[in-house]
C-alpha cells in the first residue's frame, strides 16, 4: 500500500491530548499544507487563526461542546465572506468557500498525522462566542476548528463501508450489489 494511503488510513479523530505544547513552526507548517489544498476558482477565501494561548483555549473550550480533551492548540478555519462573494458570487461564498475549508482541513490533519500529531475536526462550537473571543471582523466567518496536540491514545479504526457497496464504475450499480 502506498505511503499516502497508509497515512490516510492511520489518521484518527483524537479527543484526548497530552499537555505538551506544539512548536509554532510545526503549527505554521500545518497551515502551509492547508493553503495548498484545491480552491474553487482559486479564490482562496480561507483565513486561519492558530490559538495556543492557554487562557484563550480555556475560553473557547467553554463555548465549544464538540471540543474534547484539552488540546494545546487549535487551528480555526475561517473564510472571508466578502472576498468569496466578490470573486465567486453567492455560489463562491456559500458553497465553494466551505468546500475549500474542508479540503484544507484534510491537508492539515494528514500532515499532522505524518508529524505524529493528533487532531480532530470540530464543528460544534458557538459561532457568536467564537467571533467575540477571536475578535473576528464582520466579513470573517468561522467554519471549523481543528484541535491539535500530542496524544497517548490510538483508537482502533472506525467502521467503513465496503468499497464495492458505495462505488461504481461508469454507472449506478446498486442492483448489482444486492
Amino acid at each position: 500500500m502506498g505511503e499516502l494511503l497508509n497515512l490516510i488510513k492511520k489518521r484518527r479523530s483524537i479527543r484526548n491530548f497530552r499537555n505538551d505544547k506544539i512548536a509554532r513552526d510545526d503549527l505554521a507548517e500545518l497551515v502551509e499544507a492547508a493553503i495548498w489544498a484545491p480552491s474553487g476558482g482559486n479564490i482562496q477565501s480561507w483565513r486561519f487563526i492558530i490559538v495556543d494561548d492557554d487562557v484563550l483555549l480555556e475560553k473557547i473550550d467553554a463555548f465549544s461542546p464538540g471540543l474534547s480533551g484539552n488540546p494545546p492548540a487549535l487551528i480555526i478555519l475561517c473564510y472571508d465572506k466578502n472576498l468569496a462573494y466578490k470573486k465567486g458570487g453567492k455560489f463562491g461564498r456559500d458553497i465553494l468557500s466551505r468546500m475549500d475549508i474542508s479540503m484544507a482541513a484534510q491537508n492539515i490533519m494528514l500532515l499532522a498525522a505524518e508529524k505524529a500529531l493528533a487532531s480532530c475536526p470540530v464543528k460544534s462550537f458557538n459561532r457568536g462566542a467564537l467571533i467575540e473571543l477571536l475578535k473576528l471582523p464582520d466579513k470573517i466567518e468561522p467554519e471549523l476548528l481543528i484541535s491539535v496536540g500530542y496524544s497517548f491514545v490510538e483508537p482502533p479504526p472506525p467502521k467503513r463501508d465496503k468499497l464495492e457497496e458505495i462505488c461504481y464504475f461508469n454507472n449506478w450499480g446498486e442492483e448489482n450489489n444486492e
Binding site: 465549544s64 461542546p65 460544534s124 458557538n126 462566542a129
Partner: protein
C-alpha cells in the same frame, strides 16, 4: 476550605448553554452525548473544588467511569438499545444510592 470559583461555574454554564444552542440543529444522537458530557464536567468541577461531602458509600468514580463508557459508545451506529440498557443500569444504581441518602 472547599470553594467553587465563579470562573468554573461560568465555564459550566457556558458549556451547557452552548450545548443546548447547538443541539437545536445537531443530530438527535448528540443529545445524550452532550448531556453525559455535561454530567462528567459538572462532577469533575465539583470534585476538583472539593465541595462533595462524601460519606464513603457512593462510588462516584465508578458511576462516572460507566458514564464515560456510554459517552464513548453513544455516537456509534445502531447503539441506541445498547446505550439505553447501560444508562438504565446506571440509573438503577443511582436509585439505590439515592435511597441511602434520602
Amino acid at each position: 476550605m472547599s470553594e467553587l470559583s465563579q470562573k468554573e461555574v461560568l465555564k459550566l454554564i457556558s458549556h451547557m448553554t452552548s450545548s443546548a444552542r447547538g443541539l437545536i440543529y445537531e443530530p438527535k444522537s448528540y443529545g445524550p452525548f452532550r448531556l453525559i458530557d455535561s454530567i462528567i464536567k459538572l462532577y469533575q468541577t465539583l470534585e476538583e473544588a472539593d465541595v462533595i461531602k462524601e460519606n464513603g458509600e457512593t462510588d462516584f468514580d465508578e458511576i462516572i467511569s460507566e458514564l464515560e463508557a456510554v459517552k464513548r459508545d453513544c455516537l456509534e451506529e445502531d447503539c441506541q438499545e445498547d446505550c439505553a440498557e447501560k444508562l438504565d443500569a446506571i440509573i438503577n444504581k443511582l436509585v439505590v444510592e439515592l435511597n441511602k441518602e434520602i
